[in-house]
């Protein structure tokens, strides 16, 4: 339990990596790393697809990363209507880890350009929910 606090609308409550939400509370965006073979994962996971070990440790995603691509949504699925319009994106970090998320409203459409530096920042949402968004470093 606990994972239902992640995001505007949540669909999963139970996962072995629910601690991700606690780290967001504490201000950190975390991935997991396999203690056995060293593979780094974002999104974090409990199990390693490379060596099949389930012995993982947490590591912090620190920035900045570079904007790979993005889009601004004018329509949304149920439960997200009040956030419209918003922008989703993929950001790639120097170690090759990529992170999917939303771009902060503090950055205008005009400022956006592929390749620009961005950092992931944990944010509080209404209803005791948490997420992260990408801002200027």
């Amino acid at each position: 339990m606990g994972f239902e606090r992640f995001g505007t609308v949540s669909f999963v409550s139970q996962t072995k990596v629910a601690k991700f939400v606690d780290f967001l509370d504490e201000g950190s965006l975390m991935g997991t790393k396999c203690k056995s073979c060293g593979t780094k994962y974002f999104p974090p996971r409990n199990d390693c697809a490379e060596c099949l070990s389930s012995d993982m440790e947490w590591f912090e995603i620190t920035g900045p990363g570079k904007l790979v691509t993005y889009s601004k949504l004018m329509y949304a699925p149920s439960g997200f209507e009040k956030d419209l319009p918003y922008r989703i994106c993929v950001v790639e970090y120097p170690d090759g880890v990529k992170v999917f998320g939303r771009i902060s409203p503090s950055i205008s459409d005009e400022e956006l350009s592929i390749g620009m530096d961005l950092v992931a920042v944990p944010v509080k949402l209404s209803g005791d929910k948490v997420a992260y968004e990408f801002r200027r470093p």
Binding site: V9, F11, V68, L73, P77, I88, V97, R102
Partner: protein
């Protein structure tokens, strides 16, 4: 190893808001295929039912369809890879025939997207992504393809007009396809002026939701030769996958699952992109067709725009693509889409495509994608000389 052929094809009209039940909808595509193959339900040795389950109230529709279509006591089951379900069904039918388990198999695709309410549909849309890590941000298919469009434009200089040209082509063929849901023409201006859905994609960059069914009758070489005057042969099959999470992707200017599936299909068929006479590609969005040109090798990476600018993908061009209107105008009833693509290519190779016919087409290709490049199927078909 023997060959495997297609001996019958059918599809319902693709419509908005079909007014019957899903069993009645499925019967439309099935009965057309049976008439086409001139066989009876008892000649079908197994049926494979393909759709996306979120749009049905009926649980386990395979059993229901087998009963309604007169396909008991033969085995039946359900296959799903979202939008590419019926191409995956064809791959499995091919396999069961090659394994000697069956000689004649029906691959039946359907979707009644209007079965659920618009609110229910909006709710399901968000759950097609990884529901732990992406859906909580509010995601939709158009937004994912839009991210690919943005990357393609940034990398290669593809323009919004290039994408609009693909829609113009689709609409020009949708006008002459009696089974298409969108029968009107679309001008370049109209496409470019349409409202944004998820930038840079606009309303006319997106395919039309539709209700529909399709059916493909697949047979062993011996049965195909016995039953069909013009069997169409499966020459090559390719299938691949890519991570559902965008964070796991290595590129956004193409779909790796399509490239890998194409390579497998070309290798198995012993042909290359230049040998394809007519193709059906998965144009759920205009950018998807643009990427397909490149992923299939019809154009070098970044050169897809030249193909459409020069009308090379129209009938009469170098490689006619989606000359039945494609998903954009013919419509995209998820589970039925691949079957409809296969039907179009079968008719083309038989010379029975009517006003959409590509003269002398001998080798055809179907490119069918599930989700945002999660599943890729490429299948190559040929006819007897």
């Amino acid at each position: 190893m023997q060959k495997v052929g297609i001996i019958g094809v059918g599809q319902s009209a693709f419509v908005r808001g079909y007014e019957g039940s899903i069993r009645e909808l499925v019967f439309e595509g099935f009965s057309e295929a049976m008439r086409d193959a001139q066989i009876k339900p008892q000649d079908i040795q197994a049926s494979i039912i393909c759709s996306a389950p979120e749009y049905d109230k009926q649980r386990t529709p395979a059993g229901l369809m087998a009963e309604y279509l007169g396909l008991n006591p033969q085995p039946t089951f359900y296959i799903e890879s979202v939008c590419s379900s019926s191409s995956m069904g064809l791959r499995v039918a091919f396999s069961m025939i090659q394994a000697g388990l069956h000689d004649v198999v029906a691959v039946i695709g359907f979707q009644k997207m209007s079965e659920i309410s618009s609110a229910e549909s909006q709710e399901r849309m968000g759950r097609g992504a990884d529901i732990m890590w992406e859906s909580p941000f509010g995601t939709m298919m158009p937004a994912y393809y839009a991210m690919h469009a943005r990357a393609h434009m940034n990398t290669y200089g593809t323009t919004e007009e290039d994408l609009a040209l693909i829609r113009v082509k689709a609409a020009s063929y949708g006008q002459i396809n009696e089974k298409a849901v969108y029968r009107k023409g679309v001008t370049l201006e109209k496409a470019l002026e349409s409202d944004p859905v998820s930038t840079p994609l606009k309303v006319f960059d997106c395919c039309a939701n539709a209700d529909g069914s399709s059916c493909i009758i697949v047979a062993s070489e011996e049965m195909a030769k016995k039953l069909s005057p013009k069997p169409v042969w499966i020459l090559g099959l390719g299938a691949a996958s890519a991570p559902i999470n965008m964070a796991g992707r290595t590129t956004f200017t193409g779909l790796t699952c399509a490239r890998e599936a194409a390579k497998q299909a070309y290798d198995m068929a012993g042909v290359g992109p230049g040998d394809i006479d007519v193709a059906e590609v998965h144009d759920c969005f205009t950018i998807a067709e643009m990427m397909a040109y490149e992923d299939l090798g019809f154009a070098e990476p970044g050169k897809g725009k030249e193909l459409i600018r020069n009308k090379e993908t129209y009938i009469g061009g170098k490689i006619p693509v989606n000359v039945d209107g494609g998903l954009l105008s013919k419509g995209h009833p998820i589970g039925a889409t691949g079957g409809s693509q296969i039907r179009t290519i079968t008719l083309q190779l038989r010379g029975e495509a009517g006003p959409m016919q590509v003269d002398g087409a001998k080798i055809g290709l179907v490119h069918n994608i599930g989700g945002v490049g999660i599943y890729g199927n490429v299948t190559i078909f040929g006819r007897d000389e």
